[in-house]
């Protein structure tokens, strides 16, 4: 073995981002899909009439769509970033990364 090649260690940045993934998954437990509640307004019986329909069309339906699509994409976006990271990095690089993470 070459004495000048530093050993390879787990990428601390990747480990930190994996923690972000776990936090995002917990967040989605609290950020629930609102498609059902939204549809009781304007479309359903919770509140009917033209003002209700406008509220659904211009506020609730777009918000429900944003939340619904983002719930899936949020995890995918993090996993894409994780996939682009190296699993292992040189030890000295890992030490620098860890120092930076600790300073956040």
């Amino acid at each position: 073995m070459d004495d000048e090649t530093p050993p390879m260690v787990p990428n601390p940045m990747k480990a930190a981002l994996e923690q972000v993934l776990k936090r995002a998954q917990r967040a989605l437990d609290d950020i629930m899909d609102i498609t059902g509640p939204a549809e009781t307004i304007g479309v359903g019986q919770g509140w009917t009439g033209s003002v209700a329909q406008d509220t659904y069309d211009h506020s609730l339906a777009p918000a429900a769509n944003d939340i619904s699509t983002s719930r899936t994409d949020l995890i995918t976006d993090i996993e894409t970033s994780l996939g682009a990271m190296d699993d292992l990095v040189p030890e000295d690089v890992a030490e620098l990364m860890q120092a930076e993470l600790n300073s956040r």
Binding site: Q45, G46, A63
Partner: protein, 478 residues
Amino acid sequence: MNTSASNRYASIDLDVLGQAVADLEETLNGLHQWLPGLERDFAYFGVDTASLNRLGAAKRELDSVVPDLRERHRRAEILLVHQSNYRLHGEDGVVHFTGDLIDGNGHVSHQIHDQTSRPPGEVNQWWTGLGDDEKNYLTEYHPYLLGRLDGVPVSFRDQANRAVLAHEIERLRHELSRLINPPGLDTPLYFDGRPVPPTDPMAHLPRLQEASRLGQRLPGLLAIQERLERTDPPAYLIDFSTQGLGRTVISIGNPDEADNVGTYVPGTGSQLDERINTDIRRADIMFDDAHDAAKSSSTAVIMWLGYNAPQDVILDVQNPSHTAWSPSRAESAAPNLRRFQETLRVTHIEGNSHNTLLGHSYGTTVIGHAAKEGDIHVDNLVFIASPGVGVNHVSDLGVDAGHVFATTAHGDPILFTPDRILGTQPSSNRFGLHTIDGTIGPTYFRSNPGGHSSYWDNGNKARNNFAYIITGQYGFVR
């Protein structure tokens, strides 16, 4: 409730909307809790923020709309209490309304409550400013309030009060059935929530007394309903309530449109039971006579039982104010009668009608007290079989003496009422009325001899004079 009619309006199902708002609030709280941290993390690690940005947009949208929804739910809850108080609407937890509950000027459902303390003129102004949809909505969903709101046109009050009347008939029938249906021996009896032993007859007395009271009340309501169903001539239920002795104001003909309007105030013993038939019949008689006397003009005659008439002539030393010997019932009624006459002026279409107040017996006492204490808003006063009108001379009434009329039949025992009880009788010379044979017309006119209630009998000349006074043909009064 008419489902097709209710589909004209918006609605809120309080349970469904309440749950929806709770779910939206939970998600909004989650967005507030988690987004800031995730945004920092995504920026630090260079993660694509498109989905996070969409969540941010949703948060901003919900920040705006959720408080709005919560406020609508709160207002719908208030509306449900109003609409379901009388069990006409709202029992399914759904409220119906026109327009938008969050209205910068306040929704009409809330506005109507503000009107009850305002003068008739201001109420009429408010009503005139409403759209047709709002008027129809208030008539359908707030009949108990609208039906007694002075300043609203008679036609709308009539619609509202007919709904109230139908509902009260149904309610009374249901209550009577509950009170008088004999339970089985092994079925516990309850009254006012307390168990009643089936073998104790005295314990059933309150229940049976209540049943008796309702049993006397129901024929009165049915008599009103029967008259309303006849349309020749049409009748209008201007005011109605089953509270206390009951309140009924029913007009033969529409006073908002008539050239001549007579208001008849009945006397002792009048209340909302089968006797109301007699008083409605008298209004019908005076309407027919006035129509015959002046076919070229239109007339309406109102039966106004808008006060708690004394029920006894005999002095009750325990409760003297409850009998016809006391002016207290007249004093209490006076402001209501003045307000009602003011209301007739306010809602009349195209200028003033020719208005006459006619009282019978204690009804004259009510009229006298109303006239002496403020502007009575009429052209003529007619005192029929009066025991006294609260003043000792016609000049104390505040009305042109030339437009004050009275009659008492020979043989009417009311003639024996002492002056000290309710004031000088208008039939007395001391009151200041006089009989004139001439073109001007007498202010004290004669009736056929008879009893206290004979003035509307067939052939009684008093009827002719009522008609002439109501239609302004004073020269024919004899």
